[in-house]
């Protein structure tokens, strides 16, 4: 796979010897904080460790909950757990496994592995990564803690209203779920933005998209899916929390709401979620198999197609979870077809891995065993998945233990086994010692056997008529035997995990500077001599398997003969490359360690949790502190432009870029995609509830006069125009700030005015958010718009402050660029909203 390199990159490695002090300067720039201050580190390796460790902790906690459930179900009519406790435990087991383990652990592995795999020094937004981790960790710990105060939610991880509404779940449990999980989802989105920009913009020079390791592809698809899937559930949690707190009747049928709206939104997130978890694990398998078979991956091209197809097809399956809700049969079969479609990419991947094994010779290491276990378990889970995709079969299997068996085969098989394989495979890249193969194989055997003993019988239990989510069952002979077997299996599985933990304690010696390294003779860049700053010099990649096809690469990189062998600016840096061809485009200076991301996360978590327990004042204080921390952190970004920097081979790149060349432009675009899908979810909710309850929609003559939306639209457009003018008025140097400040100020007024006019128009027309679903949705549209307006007001103030401080000019303009992007997006969203809420009732 050695391809000729573009002329720009051709050239010989840097000359030896390297200048004196170059390495020392690099090390100094990347020096880690000492002792306990390590928590202020924003470096991806450190944050990655914390992240993986926290995720594993939550896995163990949720696993203990599972064992408690299995104890309760070991015998019929057991009284070990009360129904309420059991309901809390199964809710927490599902929620913690999904939101606090599965997604975070995958994201954590991405943060830990990607920069090294891509040959970057760090991810492009280190502080965002640290913020995402701390937000998740603090929020997760508080959320889990609710179990000990009997405040845990008990409505199931799927939280279907009306059971989770204020009437049937009056306690705080549901609020903890809604605010806690909503908050953790925001952290997941922050991580996703980081990963997308990291994969697209910080690859080593020459690593074109078709030379990128499959794991990076999967992380790209994974993060892309989060961007489109999570907003749906964020909207759902917002709607339900507003219904619980203020009585906005989104899910109350008597007032034009509908319980099924929640299910649509939840599963539009929930089904992709399964693949969000599975894809990165599949990516790990695609890395482990070639290394262990000593041969390049067969069917790379097909696998990439399969990954993207899975990412897309999984969004067409959400009704698959609603086959028993009385939706017309034709529609059910449409989604049955979509469920079949998503099976195709999995077939491709499975046979591509088999082909790779056939092409080489598979060494039976622990990692390989986990992969083989994965192939068996996941295939079986996929097959039962095809079964439940058949509408009539699902009418029987739905909500029974058959489904419990099915998705544990998919999730444990498809995600947990590869993850454990990955722990064994990548441990040498981060530890001074390898993990023990002997313990590893024992752990695998126990886990594999235990898993199948626990979960295979559940297929039968379910078909024998046992529903899910029951805290006890009557003494039917077959049920008792099968449940007892499952319980034994669960403990066997847990003993395997215990062996793994023992191995970790004995052998894992995490390090950032001198890991044992390339013991498997891998092909990808994480097996270079890596330090806290990644490789000494960032290698020129000319092949899909650089360490196999480019002999001497590892030594050359270590000696500093490739790109960026030191630090040009004395700060932490990484190379920004073009998204597809990976041509060097800029040198990005990365921020150093510090408290703001950690404190911002703690205060943000504080804001959400205090709000949950209704300490409004304290919550507000916490929120302001969080905002202050974010502003302090942002103040240090967008550093002053410096002269072009030479990164080696005589290539000079700018140290300051704006617009589509800059990494922050890409992050902003991704953020806008998130915002767009959040808004589309609202549009869907509006149209959906209209089809259910058209009677609560106003007649054209009841609508606010069209002058109101017209004024609002004019104000919106004007504010966008003012922002364009402000861009023109950006000072060249430090003079002439008045025009810029005035333009921004007027734009803010105009934007706020448009929202005020919009809300007032509905109020004067007599619409109230708590009276019917239409009113609730109309105010909800303004509520979403309000969040953007508030963000923009803060950002505008920030831009003005930067301008007055002489830190924003025609040349140094990224802060303004981001503001303008989000501004125009908000205006577009506002105009669309006006068209929908004022136009639709007039034509419908």
């Amino acid at each position: 796979m050695n391809e000729p390199v573009p002329a720009l990159l051709a050239g010989h490695p840097n000359k030896l010897p390297r200048p004196k002090g170059e390495l020392e300067a690099l090390q100094a720039a990347w020096e880690l904080p000492k002792s306990w201050r390590i928590v202020t580190s924003v470096n991806n390796t450190v944050v990655g460790y914390f992240y993986v460790a926290a995720a594993v902790l939550f896995f163990l906690l949720a696993g203990i909950l599972a064992l408690l459930m299995r104890l309760q179900l070991a015998v019929p009519s057991n009284t070990f757990l009360s129904p309420e406790t059991y309901n809390q435990i199964f809710t927490m087991h599902g929620t913690v496994m999904m939101f606090l383990f599965a997604v975070p652990v995958v994201e954590a592995m991405g943060i830990l592995l990607l920069p090294q795999m891509l040959g970057a020094r760090d991810l492009p937004f280190p502080r965002l990564g640290a913020f995402a981790f701390w937000a998740y960790f603090v929020g997760g710990i508080i959320f889990f803690g609710t179990l000990f105060y009997d405040l845990a939610p008990s409505g199931g991880w799927f939280m279907y209203p009306p059971l989770t509404g204020a009437q049937y779940s009056p306690g705080l449990g549901a609020d903890f779920w809604l605010l806690g999980i909503g908050f953790i989802e925001i952290s997941a989105i922050a991580g996703a933005i980081e990963l997308i920009v990291g994969v697209l913009r910080t690859r080593a020079p020459g690593m074109t998209l078709d030379r990128m390791p499959i794991f990076a592809w999967t992380m790209l698809v994974f993060a892309g899916m989060i961007v489109f899937a999570f907003p749906a559930v964020i909207l759902a949690t917002l709607l339900l929390e507003l219904e619980r707190a203020f009585g906005w009747p989104f899910f109350v049928p008597q007032k034009g709401g509908d319980a099924l709206l929640w299910q649509h939104l939840f599963w539009f997130f929930g089904h992709p979620e399964v693949y969000i978890i599975f894809l990165p694990a599949a990516g790990m398998v695609s890395m482990i198999v070639p290394t262990m078979s000593r041969t390049p991956l067969v069917g790379y091209r097909l696998i990439v197609v399969a990954l993207i197809a899975t990412g897309f097809f999984s969004f067409g399956l959400w009704v698959h979870h609603m086959f028993a809700t009385g939706i017309p049969a034709l529609s059910l079969n449409l989604f049955s077809a979509a469920s079949m479609a998503v099976a195709l990419p999995s077939g491709i991947q499975v046979f591509a891995w088999i082909a790779t094994i056939a092409a080489g010779r598979l060494q039976l290491t622990t990692a390989s065993l986990f992969v083989l276990g994965f192939l068996f378990v996941f295939t079986l889970g996929g097959l039962t998945g095809v079964m439940v995709a058949m509408v009539p079969f699902d009418w029987q299997a739905h909500d029974t233990y058959f489904v419990v068996a099915h998705f544990h085969y998919v999730l444990v098989g498809g995600m947990l086994f590869p993850m454990f394989g990955a722990f064994y495979y990548w441990a040498p890249a981060f530890s001074r010692r390898v993990l023990s193969e002997r313990f590893g194989k024992a752990a695998f055997s126990l886990m594999f056997i235990g898993f199948n003993v626990a979960f295979f019988p559940m297929h039968i239990t379910g078909l024998m008529g046992m529903p899910r989510r029951v805290y006890t069952y009557p003494a039917v002979a077959e049920w008792s035997v099968l449940n007892m077997i499952s319980t034994i299996g669960a403990f066997l599985f847990a003993s395997g995990v215990l062996v793994f933990l023992f191995d970790l304690v004995r052998n894992l010696r995490p390090t950032v500077s001198d890991p044992i390294g390339d013991v498997w003779k891998g092909a990808s860049l994480e097996w270079l001599h890596n330090h806290i700053y990644g490789p000494r010099s960032i290698p020129l990649v000319t092949s899909r398997d650089p360490l196999w096809d480019q002999p001497g690469l590892s030594e050359e990189s270590k000696e500093g003969r490739h790109y960026l062998p030191g630090t040009v600016t004395g700060q932490r840096e990484t190379i920004i490359t073009s998204p597809i061809e990976a041509m060097p485009q800029a040198l990005q200076r990365l921020p150093g360690d510090g408290w703001p991301p950690l404190l911002a996360a703690v205060f943000t978590a504080g804001f959400f949790m205090l709000l949950t327990v209704k300490y409004v004042t304290l919550a507000f204080v916490s929120g302001v502190l969080a905002l202050a921390m974010i502003l302090i952190w942002m103040w240090g970004s967008d550093q002053r432009p410096l002269p072009h920097a030479e990164i080696g081979h005589g290539i000079k790149v700018p140290t300051y870029v704006g617009g589509p060349l800059s990494h922050s432009w890409w992050a902003m675009v991704v953020l806008m995609l998130v915002a767009g899908s959040l808004y589309l979810s609202l549009v869907f909710s509006y149209l959906f509830l209209w089809t259910v309850s058209p009677q609560v929609w106003p007649k054209p003559e009841q609508m606010p006069p069209s002058l109101w939306p017209f004024v609002s639209a004019v104000l919106l457009t004007a504010s966008s125009g003012l922002i364009v003018l402000a861009g023109r008025a950006l000072p060249v140097r430090s003079r002439n700030r008045i025009a810029f400040v005035a333009a921004i100020g007027l734009a803010v007024l105009s934007l706020c005015g448009s929202l005020g006019v919009e809300v007032l128009s509905h109020w004067r027309a007599g619409f109230r958010p708590d009276v019917d679903a239409h009113g609730a949705l109309v105010y909800m549209a303004s509520f979403l718009q309000l969040q953007f307006v508030l963000t923009l007001v803060v950002m505008a103030g920030f831009a003005i402050a930067r301008c007055l401080a002489g830190m924003l000019s025609r040349r140094r303009r990224v802060v303004f660029g981001n503001l303008a992007l989000l501004w125009h997006y908000t205006v577009a969203q506002g105009l669309f909203g006006l068209l929908l809420v004022h136009g639709f009732p007039r034509v419908a």
Binding site: P6, D210, R301, F312, S331, I580, T691
Partner: protein, 119 residues
């Protein structure tokens, strides 16, 4: 810099065209059945015709996507650039999406509109 052509955003977006056609086809059929059944407007015949038209249109779009010529780098076709690779990938995605579209059409042909488990 004499970099190969860079239209990264457009090239990445093209990957999504095929699956998006499939998704729109699915959502359109689902949405139309929902409208036909509650409140009743239209009929089974309308559903069938719509299914035919939507499927032909979707398949047409996917075929068009598949036969579009590969991008050229510096005037010559090149298989080594990432852009050409993406083009190839979007072709395969168009093929998979076409299978999905045909499968979507199957229930429209086989299952009567608005049928419920009992009525």
């Amino acid at each position: 810099m004499s970099a190969p052509r860079t239209r990264p955003f457009a090239d990445l977006l093209r990957l999504f065209v095929g699956p998006t056609v499939w998704f729109m086809h699915l959502v359109l059929l689902y949405g139309v059945e929902a409208l036909i059944c509650t409140p009743p407007v239209g009929s089974g015949r309308a559903m069938l015709w719509l299914g035919v038209v939507a499927t032909v249109a979707a398949l047409g779009a996917l075929v068009f996507l598949a036969v579009m010529p590969a991008p050229r780098a510096e005037g010559r076709p090149s298989v080594h650039t990432g852009a050409a690779y993406l083009h190839n990938t979007s072709r395969l995605l168009a093929f998979l999406s076409a299978v999905g579209v045909i499968w979507n059409a199957l229930p429209v042909a086989l299952v009567p509109v608005c049928a419920l488990a009992a009525s």
